[in-house]
Subunit: 287 residues, 2 copies
């Protein structure tokens, strides 16, 4: 690849530009940002080599275009560039849900001879914007690559190698499998943490309450500090899977309530022991 376009220069796009430089990419990185000042700042920090004020001029002639925008802005941007992507070139994205995006972008790009392979680098959720960009964001991160009907084997291989070049560990799966897994491991925990924060922070509240919201509470609800706009899009594009997980969570919560209200101390212990074991199975490799 000689020319890569990064469309969107926030945390994800900005970090990608820095990571490509750090990895020794020798070609040209073209960038597009919605706000002019962001583009100028990206040039100043050498996040990109060239900056454009229109996405389609940034994407023209690129061998690979990476769309780094909030989920629902991705198809819109792809439409505005559709006739300028170079035939035979590749397009990918960094959206946190994949089924809807792969459907829409494949339908748009395949007829134009442009290959699309969806990506989801699992990195950077709470901070936003170019200011937070850093060269090591993708280093050791898991990046899921989700081939669809518009992906060729060569295209998938190129996208895998692209993410590996900036340090990611790549996993490959279908868009549906990706969205099901993420609903369980990420989208449910986000909604559960938000509901927990909303409960602890409800009125009326003892004025001493904040003194008790220490590390335990902060860790348990940290993900609920994420951008409501980002999460609105995730909910919107993964609703059915998320609702399934929320219902499963309500069933477990009801089991917890039953165990606590049973007045049999061992019921609560058994519930907590099972939860601890399940958590350990999921996190053993990390801790």
């Amino acid at each position: 690849m000689k020319r890569i376009a990064i469309l969107g220069l926030g945390l994800m796009g900005g970090s990608l530009g820095l990571a490509l430089k750090a990895a020794g990419f020798r070609g040209v990185v073209a960038g597009y940002a919605r706000r002019r000042e962001t583009g100028e700042e990206a040039l100043r920090r050498s996040v990109v080599d060239e900056v454009f004020d229109r996405p389609d001029t940034a994407a023209a002639d690129a061998d690979l275009s990476v769309i780094c925008l909030p989920i629902l802005a991705i198809p819109e941007l792809a439409r505005s560039c559709a006739d300028r992507f170079k035939p035979g070139s590749l397009v990918t994205d960094v959206g946190s849900t994949k089924r809807v995006l792969v459907e829409e972008l494949t339908g748009l790009l395949a007829p134009r001879g442009v290959g699309f392979v969806g990506s989801h680098p699992i990195a950077g959720s709470e901070q936003q914007g170019l200011d937070a960009a850093r060269a090591d964001l993708y280093d050791h991160a898991v990046t899921v690559v989700t081939p669809g009907p518009g992906s060729t084997a060569a295209g998938v291989r190129a996208i895998r190698e692209f993410w590996e070049s900036v340090g990611s560990r790549v996993l490959e799966m279908s868009p549906d499998q990706h969205d099901q897994i993420l609903a369980r491991t990420s989208h449910l925990p986000h909604l559960a943490a938000a509901a927990l924060a909303a409960t602890v922070g409800r009125e009326p509240a003892d004025e001493a309450l904040p003194s008790f919201c220490g590390p335990g509470f902060r860790d348990a609800t940290r993900i609920a500090a994420g951008s409501p706009e980002v999460w609105r899009d995730i909910v919107e594009t993964n609703r059915a899977n998320l609702l399934g997980e929320l219902e499963a969570f309500r069933r477990e919560l009801d089991r917890a309530i039953e165990a606590v209200s049973s007045r049999q101390p061992e019921s609560a212990r058994t519930f907590l022991e099972q939860a601890r074991q399940r958590r350990r199975r999921l996190t053993d490799r990390h801790e």
Copy 2:
């Protein structure tokens, strides 16, 4: 105070002995551990100056006895020492719930002329045992002191100063107020995190699932790694408050489910925005 007895030499008791030394306490620290090897190890590490194999001999002659055992073991130990605590001396404990303990220990000790003031140092929840003990466990920790009908003003002041001497910030409140606040800020989050871990870890599960249980999931469920025995006792002695919080949580969860299922993207955004604001109000002083 010339002689302090630490009854129970696990994480809490062991750290207290180390903290007293570090703070320059000039008197004698007597210790009791259920297991002989623990007592020997405590002597070896200079956690205490003397060690006894019976709690009542350790407590005899002490000006202050601090009971550092799991909640439900505290009244039992107090009963076994009741006739040996020095009249006019003080007793406190480190249990994570207070109403039940203050009731039981006041009933036991007040008739014998022994003062009781409950304490709850909010420190160290996941690790256990003397091996994990450290001199700075109470440093900058909040310690709640909960006077009851068996507490004199002088006794409360002495207990406050005791915890301040090892670096704690002391808050004073009634046992009921303590248990209500902790049900909301600590006991509910623990049960919610356990229910979340149980949901994410349920069967059937995609074999790729653990690869996705990264920092977000680990933080959100970390408190669920705590000892089921410790938490069984907390549930048992704070059941009514905890059930009230669990019901409030279920209502918020139902609001979340409604917002997600409404198919109106702004409903989810509004719910998440409100949760984020409430969290910020609770944690502003910490982050």
